[in-house]
Amino acid sequence: MRKNQAGMIKISPHTGPALANATLQANLKNTVGKVLHVHQLAVSEVANWQELRCHAEQVKAHTLARLHFYLQELEKQIKGQGGKVVWADNAQDALDFVVELAHQREIRRLVKSKSMLSEEIGLNEALERERIETVETDLGEFIVQLAGEPPFHITAPALHKSRREIAQLFSQKLGMEPSEDVQQITATARTLLREHFLAARLGITGANFAVAETGTIVVVENEGNARLCLSVPETHVVLVGIEKVIPRMADLAVFLKLLTRSATGQRITSYVNLINAGRREREADGPHEFYVVLVDNGRSRLLVDPVMRQTLHCIRCGACLNVCPVYQKIGGHAYQSAYPGPIGAILTPQLTSIESAPEHPFASSLCGACAEVCPVRIPIPHILLRLRAQAQRAKNGKAARVPAEKWAFQLWAWSMSSPTRYSRMEALLRFLQKLFGRDQGLRLPFPPFSQWLRRRELPALAPQSFRQIYRNRKVML
């Protein structure tokens, strides 16, 4: 999470940078359009999509309610097959483990495949402080790392960049012959990353699922970079959020179908890696050491409330980002967190605290497109509303005097809960309209009216309200 000096993760209410950037808007429109199209095709092909969603939701709800059991089961299975399990209460615990391991093995450079959890805990930055270089090997991650930017999207980190921009980046930083050919861009990355893979002694990956009954870590990918990260180096470290555990192998059939179709519109990805251990005695390759780091970092707090807990159902497909009209406009970086978009708006304040990300729950028009598309049925707008209430309580509870907005809502509630007071308010508004708008509309020179009026008209209050008309309804009808 990227905090500013006040320790607050801010969404700028004037999200200008992305909105004003015409190239970025055009890139986004192009790529998001393609993503939505293939997603639509992939989902419409599945007759019982809703049934699959319900199944997944039920499995997640069950697992989270019995998480202490399944985590121990997972640990037992992994240990039983020779893997090591490390528990990390918070980001620092996880970072300390990786840094120490790298130091012990005298590793100066490591390879890593995509892991949102590693972004969440700030792994690359922590390693960099220790002068250990992290090579991102997923092409999208590689591109944003090269550009010195955080990922823009959960499953498509470089979604916002055009091939032209990427080509420029590659020719500047890697000395590639200027070319906007995507084949050549990919080949350049492949050649360079091959070198890194072959020399790597430590590989770090994330995990999409961890199956308790078999102790299996599931890594879903398309490029084959995760496969190399977890095969070539002598040490493999998997970072897993504790909510990733699922009870049974069989349920993977459902989760994979939901995940890949939601994420990239594929029936399945090129590779689904199921890892149970490091190299076994008679196997020709594979890591000698296999570590599974189970990271809490605020997750267990979400378990308290069964509604809020559903946030942890998330399988990081990114579908809610693609359909979100707000994300499409402000882009992934505006959220200032590893998790952008609707899921980020509910996850970020819960993993940190509502005080540190008070604006996130408000960065939504509550249109509900996210909940509709979510493969595990997270009621995102519902959770946003709860978080908005928490944010107001936190803000107003601390304030020395009642803030203007709170005061306005108190006044509003007072007048709206009595017909007499409502009528007085009606009269007052009409008076104000006369005063400021000369009956051309409600042109009041203070917020929220002034903000609305900057680029839009407000309608005028009707000469007669409906209730006045209704009183004389015989005349009317």
């Binding site: 249109c367 509630a413 007072w414």
Partner: protein, 239 residues
């Protein structure tokens, strides 16, 4: 059949013709429509902004006004969603208010839904010789799951040239206080919507919610775009 009309505060103050049109349509099909003048607002603005206490205060008043109604009809998908889905949640689960709110929720209908599902009316006899498109309001579509009823009603209007715009189900960017808190995003989304409306050649855009229409109309008027907004009730009352 007796129906209580909840006109909503915006209609009451800004767009009264939506209320009178709703009455005209309902009465045409033999419904006795009652308007209780004690009604104010459903509490949604506060609920959506995180002011639960204030929302509860207004919600309690709403419950008091409508608790004895046989049916409540609302010419708004958004306010209907507030009453049906979120009002019960404002109160503690086992409280009498929560129980009342849940019961009332089951008797509350959005106008197009009420016409199609309860009255079984898909043609109000209206005539409107114009090119018209329809904007799905988010709450009506995704919270209440109503897609077809407004379209059926529009298609049955005589002489109408009904055209679907691209991405009709995409948000117009209003979102209550979102429209002022994230003003520039809100306007950018409305601009996309207006472009889609213009691209399909429509001269009128119909919706079930005056909030969306107010937002779109506000932008179109400021930019002198010759497209008019019209609420579904107003369209259906053109007989």
């Amino acid at each position: 059949m007796k129906v209580s009309l909840f006109v909503t505060c915006l209609v009451d103050q800004f767009f009264p013709s939506v209320g009178t049109s709703a009455i005209r349509v309902l009465e045409k099909f033999g419904v006795h429509v009652d308007f209780d003048p004690r009604q104010t607002c459903c509490g949604q603005p506060a609920s959506n902004s995180g002011y639960s206490d204030e929302a509860r205060q207004v919600g309690a008043h709403y419950l008091e006004v409508f608790q004895d109604s046989e049916y409540v009809v609302v010419p708004s998908g958004s306010c209907c969603t507030m009453v049906r889905r979120y009002l019960p949640e404002l109160f503690t689960e086992e409280s009498p208010e929560a129980r009342k709110a849940r019961e009332l929720a089951a008797r509350t209908f959005e106008l197009s839904e009420f016409l199609i599902s309860v009255l079984k009316v898909s043609d109000t006899g209206a005539r409107f010789p114009e090119i018209v498109t329809y904007h799905d309001s988010c709450h009506l579509l995704r919270e209440l799951g109503i897609y077809e009823p407004p379209r059926r009603l529009i298609r049955s209007v005589r002489d109408i040239d009904f055209r679907e715009m691209a991405n009709s189900t995409r948000c117009c960017g209003f979102g209550g206080t979102f429209s002022v808190k994230f003003e520039d995003v809100s306007v950018a989304l409305a601009e996309d919507k207006v472009r889609a409306i213009q691209d399909c050649g429509a001269r009128f855009v119909v919706a079930t919610d005056v909030s969306c229409l107010m937002h779109l109309d506000g932008l179109m008027r400021r930019n002198h775009i010759p497209v008019k907004t019209i609420h579904l009730a107003e369209l259906l009352a053109k007989f």
